[in-house]
């Protein structure tokens, strides 16, 4: 089973990621499994996707905003945010919006070009699960969460900025 970093631990990943431009019939291959489907697909076929057995989560590309999920948001156990390339920083803002503005409490998962050296900032922005790029060494990546002991800003992991604590 594929591995995932969640809350700083390596665990088995039970979720299957469904590609962009998928159709309903593509899902038949995954009967009973838990799926993360693309936003556009979800918005178009939500009812029928949910009729299958197995849980459903949604993934957003970096140009898609969490507000598009509307009131579905809080029923989703997982929302995945894609990094088409690690240097595309839009999902950092999406994660913060999900946590701070929209009050989302479920898992926010980083998917796509997810690399060791971005994990710390991602976790500060509210990501708590990381599906790393295939070539990444998960064991070694875990140290990234300790790159810094403190941060100046108000962030999801530390909502009270340093200046109110020092």
């Amino acid at each position: 089973m594929p591995k995932l970093i969640k809350k700083c631990q390596i665990i088995d990943d039970q979720w299957v990621l469904i590609k962009e431009n998928s159709q309903l019939e593509d899902l038949q291959a995954y009967s009973g499994q838990d799926l993360i489907v693309p936003l556009v697909f979800w918005l178009a076929e939500r009812t029928r996707i949910q009729q299958r057995s197995g849980k459903t989560a949604v993934w957003l590309n970096s140009n898609e905003v969490p507000q598009s999920l509307g009131s579905d948001l809080h029923n989703l156990e997982v929302i995945a945010l894609n990094f088409p390339i690690f240097s595309d920083g839009r999902a950092y803002s999406s994660a913060r919006e999900l946590r701070s503005n929209l009050g989302y409490k479920g898992e926010i998962r980083a998917i796509g070009d997810v690399l060791r050296d971005q994990l710390f900032y991602m976790s500060r922005c509210g990501f708590d699960a990381f599906l790393m790029r295939d070539d990444q060494n998960l064991e070694r990546a875990l140290s990234a969460f300790n790159d810094f002991t403190e941060g100046y800003q108000a962030s999801v992991d530390k909502p009270i900025p340093l200046f109110r604590r020092r």
């Binding site: 690690f86 950092y92 803002s93 913060r96 690399l115 810094f148 002991t149 941060g151 200046f163």
Partner: protein, 552 residues
């Protein structure tokens, strides 16, 4: 000056350990070049034409003598004995070895300095007026706010991978010397009718390929909301700024394409969620930061110094330097001294390690151990007793640091250009030198008067050529180095972008063309008119005619 506490020290130590680890992985081949790239850039490290280049932040231009000595040590030990002050209040070293960089950063950390976010698509060093805290008629000292912004922007987890670089300037003085209107965010400190301090917020200014003057999106932002509002602007930019084309990725393009009204609405909308939240600044934090920027222990002195007046009467060279390089100070009996790093024969903004050590000593003797650097690439001793000016000038002379051309045509603002920079279309340092040589006559130079001349080696406009009274831009013309000239730019309170005079010129033509331009000004000027005033009155045509006139 701001002093680090344990938190600041710890984060900096964490950062160096992180970068050391990243560098090791890169050198071992465990981290691919493209993935290492933004990491090294955000630690100030470029790979340039000849060698790596390390850009070190001088936050809002403030330096202590101790820090400058450390920079001298780095120049000697890891580089070739000199450094280069940039137009963004940073210093660059052109010859460090990649493997040494983590050690250099550790040296810097000892004196509370770093190279964090001096490059890359992130929030860069915040800049301000080099006279902050000493200027006459200052609204409020901008430096505590700059420090607050520095901390907020340092390691900001949400904004480390923006569409493009992001520059913030703060101005608290009446006469803006910080080029505030041409920054991604320009903050002007203002006082409301009721005496409350806040900011007038400009957004979307910038130079580069598409020069734009910033647009106001808020006329008054109460100071406690500074960081939540910045967070809101940056979030809108991070989400919506273009990422498909690097030339359209700056916030100025987003503001232009969105329209300033709609952009403002988006920011205000985003701000609603943040406003009055935990990031709202507290009186305690303002006080904490302000205490680092209190006045030094000034003496109570009479406004005029008899020693100074006597020396001015007796020594015309000193008087010449005084008239150009010494500015009024808010405190009676004190003056602000600009050490102009524009000696002909030396690249503008360059300083040797010996000079650094020497200037550090001067700062200790004459100016409470502090210095500033300006975006004009000069050094400032901000708190000098008037009675000591003559002795200071004599000391400067002994190290050839007595250039008396501040604000004159030869006080050229110039990027490193083709001699160092891998992005350059053309060289810029030799152009600066050829112009300085052409205008070597000091009395003529003074007769010409205040005139800014800026040179950039390419469209990235590090030399701010768009806002020079005379702007020179290196362009590539079928593989040859050519120079496009613009006129009428300015970067003070009346910031204006220069107009291109016409087809570009070959390198050897440039000094002659500048001379013709100056001659047109001299012929047309009315009494007391500065170059840019004459230009604004007569327009570009007389200059065009003269510059492109066919020889009979």
């Amino acid at each position: 000056m701001y002093r680090y506490d344990n938190y600041d020290h710890q984060m900096l130590a964490d950062r160096i350990a992180q970068f050391r680890h990243q560098t090791e992985r890169f050198l071992k081949g465990e981290l691919a070049g493209p993935e290492f790239l933004p990491l090294r850039l955000q630690n100030g490290l470029y790979v340039q034409r000849l060698a790596p280049m390390l850009r070190i932040a001088i936050p809002y231009g403030m330096l202590s003598s101790r820090q400058l000595r450390k920079l001298a040590h780095i120049a000697d030990y890891y580089d070739k004995g000199y450094g280069h002050f940039t137009t963004r209040q940073n210093i660059q070293f052109n010859w460090p070895a990649l493997v040494d960089v983590p050690d250099i950063l550790a040296h810097l950390a000892e004196v509370e300095m770093h190279a964090i976010q001096t490059s890359g698509n992130c929030i860069r060093n915040t800049t301000t007026d080099q006279f902050a805290g000493c200027a006459v008629n200052e609204i409020e000292d901008s430096r505590p706010y700059c420090e607050i912004i520095r901390q907020w922007s340092t390691f900001h987890p949400e904004f480390a991978y923006l569409p493009r670089k992001f520059k913030i300037a703060v101005c608290g003085t009446v006469d803006d010397q910080a080029a505030t209107q041409v920054h991604d965010i320009g903050l002007f400190i203002v006082k409301s009718d009721t005496g409350e301090i806040g900011f007038r917020v400009l957004v979307g200014g910038g130079l580069g390929r598409t020069p734009v003057i910033g647009k106001e999106i808020r006329s008054f932002l109460p100071k406690q909301h500074l960081l939540t509002y910045l967070d809101a602007i940056l979030r809108v930019y991070n989400r919506e700024g273009r990422r498909d084309n690097k030339y359209k990725a700056r916030i100025k393009i987003l503001v232009k394409e969105t329209g300033v009204e709609l952009f403002r609405e988006k920011v205000e909308q985003e701000w609603l969620a943040l406003k009055d939240g935990p990031l709202t600044l507290t009186d305690a934090e303002f006080l904490r930061c302000k205490q680092y920027f209190q006045d030094p222990e000034y003496k109570e002195l009479p406004e005029d110094s008899p020693q100074l007046l006597q020396a001015l009467g007796e020594n015309v060279l000193f008087a010449g330097w005084y008239n150009r390089n010494v500015s009024a100070h808010k405190k009676a009996g004190y003056a602000i001294v600009t050490i102009c790093l524009k000696q002909t024969g030396t690249a503008p903004g360059d300083i040797t390690s010996d000079q650094m050590n020497f200037v550090a000593d001067l700062a200790d003797s004459y100016s409470f151990g502090e210095l500033r650097v300006s975006h004009e690439q000069n050094i400032i001793l901000a708190d000098v007793e008037k009675s000591a000016l003559y002795a200071l000038w004599q000391s400067l002379k002994s190290q050839k640091l007595n250039s008396d051309n501040r604000g004159l045509l030869t006080d050229i603002i110039c990027c490193p250009g083709g001699d160092f920079c891998s992005l350059a279309n053309a060289k810029s340092i030799p152009i600066a030198e050829s112009i300085q040589r052409r205008f070597g006559d000091a009395s003529r130079l003074r007769d010409i008067g205040a005139l800014s001349l800026n040179i950039s080696g390419c469209m990235n406009a590090c030399g701010h050529h768009h806002v020079g009274n005379i702007g020179i831009l290196g362009v590539d013309k079928k593989g040859a180095e050519f120079y496009q000239i613009s006129l009428g730019g300015s970067v003070d309170n009346n910031t204006a972008l220069g107009q291109i005079v016409g087809p570009s010129f070959a390198q050897e033509e440039v000094p002659g063309v500048v001379e013709k331009i100056v001659n047109v000004y001299m012929k047309n000027r009315q009494s007391g008119e500065r170059f840019v005033e004459t230009f604004n009155r007569v327009g570009i045509d007389p200059f065009k005619e003269e510059v492109y006139a066919k020889a009979d």
